[in-house]
């Protein structure tokens, strides 16, 4: 049970920031899922790719993302996601609260380490 809980907590943490990461990646330019995945893989935030698709769809459905189709030379047509205006607004809010959170968490952790 203990083991499962730590795993679960880690997964929850990753997932919480995943949304922020996706929005950040898309703020640098439009991308299709494979590109997003490639970038996320470096950060070890995504363990399995399947996680990404429901998330993208949900973000799109809430109006944070838009998309367009582009032909591909080597495979099926690609779905390029881009940040909408609402998305940009949302990202900014998220970034602020993230920084607050990070500093708050860091200070808490530092205190915990000193003890």
């Amino acid at each position: 049970m203990e083991q499962v809980n730590t795993e679960n907590t880690k997964a929850q943490m990753r997932k919480g920031v995943l949304e922020l990461c996706i929005l950040s990646i898309l703020s640098q330019g439009d991308a299709y899922p494979t590109e997003i995945i490639d970038k996320l893989k470096d950060t070890k935030l995504v363990v399995v790719e399947g996680t990404l698709y429901p998330l993208l769809t949900r973000l799109k459905n809430t109006g944070l993302l838009g998309y367009r189709w582009e032909e591909s030379n080597s495979g099926p047509p690609r779905k390029y996601y881009k940040l909408t205006e609402i998305g940009e607004q949302y990202l900014k809010e998220l970034q602020i609260s993230w920084e607050e959170l990070v500093s708050a968490v860091n200070s808490t952790i530092e205190k915990g380490k000193k003890l």
């Binding site: 997932k15 363990v47 790719e49 399947g50 996680t51 998330l55 993208l56 047509p77």
Partner: protein, 613 residues
């Protein structure tokens, strides 16, 4: 060499090995099963499929054109297990939902009643109930069957349940039916099971029927008819089974009675014949009853089980039993195939004009033999006539039968008694032997003939329809008196008045050229129509110069006047006047004047000569 399947993922065509295809197909349907309830599920599926197509495309080249199992496994590893991205969605749901979900996954979900379409016999009601109560479907079906047909539960209850209980259509329904929470693990498990089931079905009747609506309706109707037929078979089989068991029970009960045991020992050639006859009965009737029930139950419960070995061996056994039964029947009946009659003629002299026929009752006869059950035999013959009984003496069995006597006109002047001892047998010789085993006696004492009521057969002889028939030949003019005791010895003795044997006794009959005529039958004598003249009617009797009003029947001489007419009786002469005319009967002649005025005169010849003898 492996078989490949061509598939289209996201508009790209792949050649994929069959096992790899199965795995991929299961994987996709598992994911689909999960996302089917999510908003934009189709879109997610499309995205995932597009990614899979992209990944697979990287796996193939000009040299390697086919997608293999490890390629698929690799792709699945990259994409992750459906459970892994299931957690994802949950975290993004609202707090309330999250709470609900976690509750659901921890506690056992509330069961819901559905009809189970995967395991249905008729409408899936029973299997649904079974899932709801978490018991084996067989028991629910059995209980339903017993309740409907023996417990008074109406068939309508089932039909109403069929209508109001919804069918479990989706995977989630099926899980709810079994009370399993709709977790991804369970869904993927169920989806996999379904896929496997589907695969089996297609493998079995490939290209046959796709279960569309019309089809399933038709097959349900067919099912119901099939069931009803099965039910009918079970019903008939059940009724026959009851008859069968009770007849076997009856045989075993009869077997314990000594009477039955004795009879079977005198009818069958040997004891083992009887045993074989019983065995053959059990087989010849038992197997069809069993098969009827077996087939009925199979149809009723849709059991697709057929055991060739069982069918063949039962068929063979039945044939064997049939042949055995046939053989024993033929063997036994053959014992009766020939009849033999031994005729013995006895000349009876010095009988005078009037012969008295008497009976030596069975009790008297039996005294001569050392039978142990004399009383039993006696009462049997008092109640039954022309019948047989078994006498027991020193553990030997003897057949005892009743003798018969007929009286006919003699074509000579002498009184003759012909005794026929007859019996049946395997062949003439055997029948003859059997006839010889009959023991019968009669004695002549002056003008009396005393007949034994019964005959016996030598101990331990088989029953072969032994009979003793006697014929007493009486010359015309002779008078015979039947003692009351011979009532049952007489065997349809013909007489001119068609009088029944029972009424012939206690009276004197004279042999005429027409046949036996009653001499002292008042009211019975001439017209047999009003033979029931036993009825007490008043009549005027003039006797010895006195007029008496009499209510009883008298056979005495004199003049009587009653409803039937006027009768005058003398020693040798009788005169009767009634609505049919006038009749005069004399020793020497009969004169009759009928209502039409015709006169008939018959003289009785030879009389004096006979008297002279």
């Amino acid at each position: 060499m492996n078989k490949t399947v061509t598939i289209n993922i996201s508009g790209i065509i792949f050649h994929i090995e069959e096992d790899a295809y199965q795995t991929l197909s299961n994987y996709l349907s598992t994911i689909k099963g999960y996302f089917s309830k999510t908003d934009g599920g189709n879109e997610i599926m499309a995205d995932i499929e597009a990614r899979i197509a992209e990944l697979l495309q990287q796996k193939i080249s000009v040299n390697k054109q086919v997608v293999l199992m490890n390629d698929v496994e690799n792709v699945m590893q990259i994409m992750g297990k459906p459970e892994e991205f299931a957690g994802d969605e949950n975290t993004h749901k609202s707090n309330d939902e999250e709470a609900n979900n976690s509750n659901a996954s921890h506690e056992k979900i509330k069961r819901r009643l559905f009809r189970n379409p995967d395991e249905k016999a008729i409408g899936g009601v029973c299997s649904g109930l079974a899932a709801y109560f978490d018991v084996d479907t067989v028991w629910v079906r059995l209980a339903m069957f017993l309740l409907i047909f023996f417990g008074g539960l109406s068939l309508w209850v089932y039909i109403v349940m069929w209508i109001i209980i919804p069918e479990a259509k989706t995977t989630a329904d099926r899980l709810a039916m079994r009370g399993e929470p709709a977790t991804i693990d369970n869904i993927s498990k169920t989806v996999k099971e379904e896929a496997a089931d589907l695969k089996n079905r297609y493998a079995k009747n490939f290209g046959k029927n796709v279960r569309n609506g019309a089809h399933s309706a038709a097959s349900t109707l067919g099912n119901v008819i099939g069931r009803l037929f099965g039910l009918f078979l079970v019903f008939i089989g059940g009724v026959l089974l009851i008859a069968y068991v009770s007849s076997i029970f009856g045989i075993s009960v009869a077997d314990s009675s000594s009477d039955f045991t004795n009879w079977k020992s005198v009818i069958f050639n040997s004891g083992s014949y009887y045993v074989w006859a019983i065995i053959s009965f059990i087989i010849v009737f038992g197997i069809p009853v069993f098969m009827l029930l077996y087939t009925g139950i199979k149809i009723l419960f849709k059991i697709h089980y057929s055991n060739r070995w069982l069918n063949y061996s039962l068929g063979f056994l039945w044939l064997l039993g049939f042949i055995l039964g046939f053989y024993i029947t033929v063997k036994t009946v053959k014992q009766f195939s020939e009849t033999s009659k031994i005729k013995e003629t006895y000349q009876l002299h010095n009988m005078g004009d009037t012969i008295v026929v008497k009976l030596n009752p069975s009790a008297e006869v039996l005294k001569n033999y050392a039978f142990e059950n004399i009383e039993e035999i006696e009462t049997h013959f008092q109640k039954n006539h022309n019948n047989y009984y078994l006498g027991e003496s020193k553990s030997n069995l003897s057949i005892i039968g009743q003798a018969n006597l007929d009286v006919v006109e003699s074509n000579s002047d002498s009184i003759e008694l012909i005794v026929y001892n007859s019996a049946q047998g395997l062949n003439k010789q055997d029948a003859n032997q059997n006839a010889k085993s009959i023991k019968y006696k009669f004695t002549q004492n002056g003008n009396q003939i005393i007949f034994d009521e019964i005959f016996t057969v030598i101990a331990d002889q088989k029953f072969r329809a032994q009979r003793v028939n006697m014929r007493l030949k009486l010359p015309i003019g002779k008078v015979i008196y039947f003692d009351k005791s011979v009532k049952y010895l007489l065997d349809d003795v013909s007489n001119i008045t068609n009088t029944w044997d029972g009424d012939m006794v206690g009276r004197r009959w004279k042999m005429t050229d027409k046949g036996l005529a009653c001499i002292d039958c008042n009211g019975l004598d001439s017209d047999s129509d009003d033979e029931d003249g036993e009825s007490v009617s008043k009549k005027i009797v003039i006797q010895n110069g006195e007029v008496i009003i009499d209510e009883t029947k008298t056979h005495s001489n004199g003049v009587s006047i009653d409803d039937d007419g006027i009768k005058i009786k003398g020693k040798d002469t009788k005169i009767k006047i009634d609505e049919n005319g006038i009749k005069v009967n004399d020793k020497d002649a009969n004169v009759k004047i009928d209502e039409n005025g015709h006169i008939k005169i018959k003289t009785i010849k030879h009389k004096k000569e006979k008297e002279g003898e």
